[in-house]
């Protein structure tokens, strides 16, 4: 997406539209709010917190607008603002462990943990995700990730940004991003591997649980 800093095609209706910054702001908002909401929802896991984060993100963007030099994509700039806002807001999830993930904790310790106990055979990921329970287990696994790992997983695997872009957004080198991404994936994999699901979305009571 190209930077649209100087666009003047914003709407003229509604609150604040007459102020000098409001029109380009409207353009920025219209072009990016859906992506930012999606990102916020993935980080927060629910709508209200996501809306708060979107509001905080665009408010900060509004205030910093004059300092945006256009040397990065607008979307990357907004991702960075949202990531920092998320870290600041510190909406602590119940039970979320803010801890370092070590590789050794992801080495399977029993036979059932090597594979995912979910019905994916012959299904595309999209089809597999039609299973409501699988979606819930996946969402819960992502929500359980310590924040700094969740942020990298969401930016890389869900938003589809490159390691370099994510490094720029979070102020880390690519090596650190890749290391966090790997641990985050292993964490989610482990969460999925211990769950038993049947094809119709009901939990299989015969499957061993951790």
């Amino acid at each position: 997406m190209a930077a649209r800093k100087h666009s003047e095609s914003g709407s003229t209706d509604g609150h604040g539209a007459s102020s000098p910054t409001a029109r380009p702001f409207d353009q920025l908002y219209r072009d990016n709010v859906d992506v930012m909401y999606r990102f916020a929802y993935r980080l927060c896991g629910e709508a209200e917190a996501a809306k708060d984060l979107v509001q905080e993100t665009f408010l900060n963007a509004y205030r910093a607008y004059d300092r945006f030099r256009g040397d990065s994509q607008v979307s990357t700039w907004l991702y960075a603002i949202a990531s920092h806002a998320c870290q600041r807001m510190r909406r602590k999830r119940k039970g979320e462990p803010e801890r370092e993930l070590s590789l050794t904790e992801f080495i399977p310790t029993s036979e059932g943990e090597f594979s995912l106990q979910i019905p994916m055979e012959g299904l595309s990921p999209h089809e597999a995700l039609e299973n409501k329970e699988l979606r819930q287990i996946l969402d819960r696994a992502i929500a359980k990730l310590p924040r700094k790992y969740r942020m990298v997983l969401v930016l890389r695997d869900m938003e589809g940004l490159s390691a370099k872009e994510v490094g720029g957004i979070l102020g880390l080198n690519e090596r650190a991003i890749k290391s966090r991404l790997h641990r985050a994936r292993l964490f989610v994999r482990k969460e999925l591997s211990g769950k038993g699901l049947t094809v119709d979305g009901h939990e299989d009571v015969t499957t061993r649980h951790r």
């Binding site: 509604g14 609150h15 604040g16 102020s19 910054t21 409001a22 702001f25 409207d26 908002y29 709010v33 859906d34 909401y37 999606r38 929802y41 993935r42 709508a47 809306k51 979107v54 509001q55 665009f58 408010l59 509004y62 590789l103 992801f106 080495i107 399977p108 310790t109 029993s110 036979e111 943990e113 090597f114 594979s115 995912l116 979910i118 994916m120 055979e121 012959g122 595309s124 990921p125 999209h126 597999a128 995700l129 699988l134 979606r135 996946l138 969402d139 992502i142 997983l153 695997d157 869900m158 589809g160 890749k178 991404l181 790997h182 994936r185 292993l186 989610v188 994999r189 999925l192 591997s193």
Partner: protein, 99 residues
């Protein structure tokens, strides 16, 4: 990421897990994301492929990691409603002008 999906039905059971603790398995496990993301050199890829061919546990593990990544990549997220989009805009501009 290599675009292939392989699943392992219950008929193929991994060998006892102790084998996975072998140094080679751990070394491979450390690199599986880089392997999936195609970030490794040809030599290292060959090394890993040889190990995977020799170690069903690691092969199954790799598939489960690949499936996990694909699920994350395809997990949709609910859209913002028109009403919320307009309400948020009003709130942002109100807050911006209040300062």
């Amino acid at each position: 990421m290599a675009d292939r999906v392989r699943t392992y039905p219950g008929t193929r059971k991994p060998t006892p897990h102790q084998g996975h603790r072998k140094r080679n398995c751990v070394k491979v496990l450390e690199r599986l994301s880089a392997y999936l993301d195609d970030e490794l050199s040809g030599d290292v890829c060959t090394e890993i492929r040889l190990h995977l061919g020799d170690c069903p546990n690691c092969e199954v593990f790799l598939d489960s990691l690949r499936q996990t990544v694909r699920l994350c990549q395809h997990r949709p997220s609910p859209p913002l409603s028109e009403k919320d989009r307009a309400a948020l805009r009003r709130q942002i501009l109100k807050a911006a002008e209040a300062v």
